[in-house]
């Protein structure tokens, strides 16, 4: 059986992947900081709950729009700069931008635009849809990277861990919300989980962003190690590097 040779994730430069990771971290940090600042203001009674909602929504819609387009461009660049299963992974990853674009808009789209019933849990349903739109493509992205034979070993292990990170940060808050409002309201144990959940939500973009950033760094390191070892000749012959 022919053993596939390992290749870096990106050809020429890892800059698109680094930028994608950084953009995701930046977006995650910005939403976490602004969200925390606004909720602090509201919880101290400095602004009303109505003002909190409208200011947060305005921010989420603007930031989501900018971040969504930025992610789309960077995912496409990553797909262009890669090949094989990695290209397929980033192509699917592009779909994750839809989840970001929908942030702050999902309720209107689902319940007013599409006329779906809210079932008395409109924000939970809309939140779950937004999260799924982001998390599922990201999960598939990491599954493909983890199972790619040409992907450097370190990248595959990190991708494997990232699957759990994406799924955990995406589904744990939804799971806790369902427990808290439907299955076990009033349960002190769920109360503790809600505390954790409010922190996990803030990591929803930061951790996958960090994963992408580390993937880029590991892959970059791999490519610089490969070149002096002489294996680059083979790759250069295929016209895939530099």
């Amino acid at each position: 059986m022919q053993k596939k040779s390992k290749q870096p994730l990106m050809r020429k430069s890892h800059l698109p992947l680094i930028l994608l990771g950084a953009a995701m971290i930046g977006y995650g940090l910005l939403t976490a900081i602004v969200g925390s600042w606004l909720s602090n203001q509201a919880m101290r009674g400095l602004i009303t709950a109505g003002a909190y909602r409208s200011q947060l929504m305005a921010f989420e819609q603007t930031a989501g729009l900018i971040a969504g387009f930025l992610f789309t461009v960077l995912f496409i660049l990553c797909a262009i700069r890669s090949s094989g299963i990695v290209r397929a992974a980033f192509s699917i990853g592009t779909l994750a931008s839809a989840g970001v674009l929908l942030t702050g808009r999902a309720e209107n789209l689902l319940f007013k635009g599409m006329g779906l019933p809210t079932l008395g849990a409109g924000s939970v349903v809309a939140g779950a849809v937004t999260v799924l739109l982001f998390a599922l493509p990201m999960t598939i992205l990491f599954i493909l990277l983890a199972s790619g034979g040409q992907v450097p070993r370190g990248c595959r292990w990190l991708s494997l861990a990232s699957i759990f990170i994406v799924l955990g940060t995406a589904f744990f808050p939804i799971y806790v919300t369902v427990l808290a409002f439907l299955l076990r309201p009033g349960d002190p144990a769920v109360g503790q989980m809600m505390e954790v959940s409010s922190q996990v939500i803030k990591l929803r973009f930061i951790l996958p962003g960090l994963s992408l950033l580390f993937l880029a760094l590991i892959s970059e390191r791999f490519s610089t190690k490969q070149l002096p070892a002489g294996s680059a000749d083979n790759v250069i012959a295929k016209g895939e590097l530099i």
Partner: protein
């Protein structure tokens, strides 16, 4: 050649399996608690109960109690043998024996039969009218001295938080009944407005009744629900006019009118519904109705139909008590996930702040039969409740005596008639919760309050819009903070809290019907002169006599 599975495919398979396992695990429900059995003596042994004294040997106390369909029992328990009967016997040395048990709707009738047949329980619950009746018949024990001697500090605190509660149980300077206290101020109306509609239309908080009328106009004319159809009204009103939900007393209060209650004016108690301030409020309501800001069919719509209007996002304002977000305002999220109602203090028609009217919450008293050898036993039972249930922050103790979260239908305190609530509990609880929210530290809260904290946190930190109900009531600037203002300076307490006087008992029902008909007709377009006619008729048909009796009572209850 036999196809072989490559390492890559194996890896992929393993990854997929792990993902599936993770997904399956995330769908698994939380750990299920073991079934709860009835509390046994062991529970008392491990609890930090406050019990200063115990009868030895135990005494017998015959009593009576109501049990309705909502009262559920854990296995092996019934109304004669439950956590409360066992606690009274083992902790206080009081063997309680319920001579009869009836549905609450049959209680007064059954009690009258028992008393008339001479079978008077040792300790039982009475209405204000029965308190006076049984006292006059000499059937009740004087509790003045036993209260002074036995009442614990917490019991005294609870029974004096509402300044009229002990007074209500006092006749001729002596205490004959222990009032079953609750939060009087909880019945005070406030103004509830769809905040999301106000934000959408760029409207600020109302600072006067003129603002209220303008918001009502905008809600009716500017399509705040975004359906593109003229299907909204400004103000929800039920056909009953008064009550906790979609009432009108809040609107009248904005005009300094206080229908249905007695308050002091020029040194004497007057009946609010016949005062001149009613006029301006009635005219304003009439105009709102004429402009379609009040449902054209409000005169036939009960609370269920009004709730339906709220659920359909067709109504943007309602006067109601502090808890109405729990129901029916919560229904508005069925059609609009952004629905959010905010409470405001009643705005005023002029520069004098408006006051929300409310009544004493004392609807019943616990009394002891005249001749019963241990009247102080009742005070000890009240102490047991106050010192352990109200005073304690011990969640284990509360679980044993009130109920467990795993069996929410089993409300244990319904097994005893000796239940007094702290009148200030809602206000104090809301205050503590808001302080904890501002500090972002729930550690000082009891379990129930901690849960409310988490729900509010879910709204502000996780975007769970369905949590707005808790935000609107106990959150920053929530309705319980308005209750605090009402209790301090913006409330108008009904000054008459005695049993119905003879003329009141006989004539008030008819006069109240006249009043409701008059108000409904004027709102729907009849001449305002009808109000003047009503005032004259009210005095002539018994009102003047009632005023005399009420003021006579007030002289004895300053």
């Amino acid at each position: 050649m036999k196809p072989s599975i490559g390492k890559t495919q194996w890896n992929g398979l393993v990854v997929l399996l792990l993902v599936i396992v993770l997904l399956a695990a995330s769908c698994k429900p939380a750990s299920v608690s073991p079934p709860v059995s009835g509390p046994s003596e062991d529970f008392f042994a491990g609890l930090n109960l406050v019990v200063p004294s115990q009868y030895d040997p135990p005494i017998q106390m015959d009593s009576v109690i109501t049990v309705d369909a909502t009262v559920k029992f854990l296995g092996g328990n019934d109304i004669h043998n439950n956590v409360w009967t066992r606690a009274y016997e083992q902790q206080l040395g009081i063997k309680i024996n319920y001579k009869w048990v009836v549905d609450a709707s049959m209680y007064d009738q059954k009690l009258s039969l028992s008393v008339n047949s001479g079978e008077i329980p040792d300790m039982f619950m009475v209405s204000p009218a029965q308190l006076r009746l049984f006292h006059e018949a000499g059937l009740l024990a004087d509790l003045t001295s036993v209260y002074e001697a036995e009442a614990s500090a917490k019991t005294r605190d609870v029974l004096t938080q509402d300044p009229v509660s002990l007074q209500a149980g006092t006749i001729d300077g002596k205490l004959w009944g222990i009032p079953l206290t609750d939060a009087a101020v909880a019945s005070a109306p406030m103004l509830w407005i769809r905040q999301d509609w106000m934000d959408r239309l760029g409207v600020g908080a109302p600072s006067s009744m003129a603002d209220v009328l303008e918001i009502s106009r905008l809600f009716t004319e500017q399509d705040p629900n975004g359906t593109g159809v003229n299907d909204t009204i400004g103000l929800c009103v039920t056909k009953s006019l008064w009550g906790a939900i979609a009432n009108l007393q809040g609107f009248f209060n904005g005009y300094h009118a206080y229908p249905g209650i007695w308050y002091e004016r020029d040194g004497e108690l007057v009946y609010g519904s016949v005062q001149p301030e009613m006029r301006a409020a009635l005219l304003a309501l009439q105009e709102m109705y004429a402009k379609g800001q009040i449902d054209r069919e409000f005169g036939v719509k009960d609370i269920n139909q009004v709730s339906e209007t709220i659920a359909q996002s067709k109504c943007g304002m309602a006067f109601g008590v502090w808890w109405i977000p729990y129901h029916p305002l919560n229904l508005s999220q069925q059609n609009d996930p952004y629905a959010f109602w905010t409470a405001y203090p009643i705005p005023s028609v002029d520069t004098t702040p408006a006051k929300s009217q409310y009544r004493s919450a004392i609807g019943a008293f616990l009394v002891v039969r005249n001749g019963y050898a241990n009247p102080e036993a009742l005070i000890r039972m009240v102490n047991f409740w106050a010192d352990n249930i109200l005073q304690s922050q011990d969640d284990d103790l509360r679980r044993v005596f009130l109920g467990d979260i795993d069996t929410p239908d089993v409300v244990l305190y319904k097994y005893t008639p000796v239940v007094v609530w702290e009148p200030n509990a809602i206000i104090d609880g809301g205050k503590k919760l808001r302080e904890a929210i501002a500090r972002k530290d729930p550690s000082s809260l009891d379990l129930e309050a901690q849960w409310r904290y988490r729900i509010i946190q879910a709204y502000f930190e996780q975007g769970t819009l369905e949590a707005w109900v808790e935000v609107a009531t106990n959150g920053p600037n929530g309705s319980t903070s308005i209750l605090e203002q009402i209790q301090e300076e913006r409330g108008m307490l009904d000054r008459y809290f005695g049993a119905p006087s003879p003329a009141m008992a006989e004539k008030m029902p008819t006069l109240q019907t006249m009043e409701e008909v008059m108000i409904t007709k004027i709102i729907m377009g009849d001449s305002i002169d009808m109000f003047d006619q009503f005032v004259q008729d009210w005095r002539r048909l018994g009102g003047a006599e009632i005023v005399k009796e009420v003021n006579l009572w007030a002289d004895g209850n300053p």
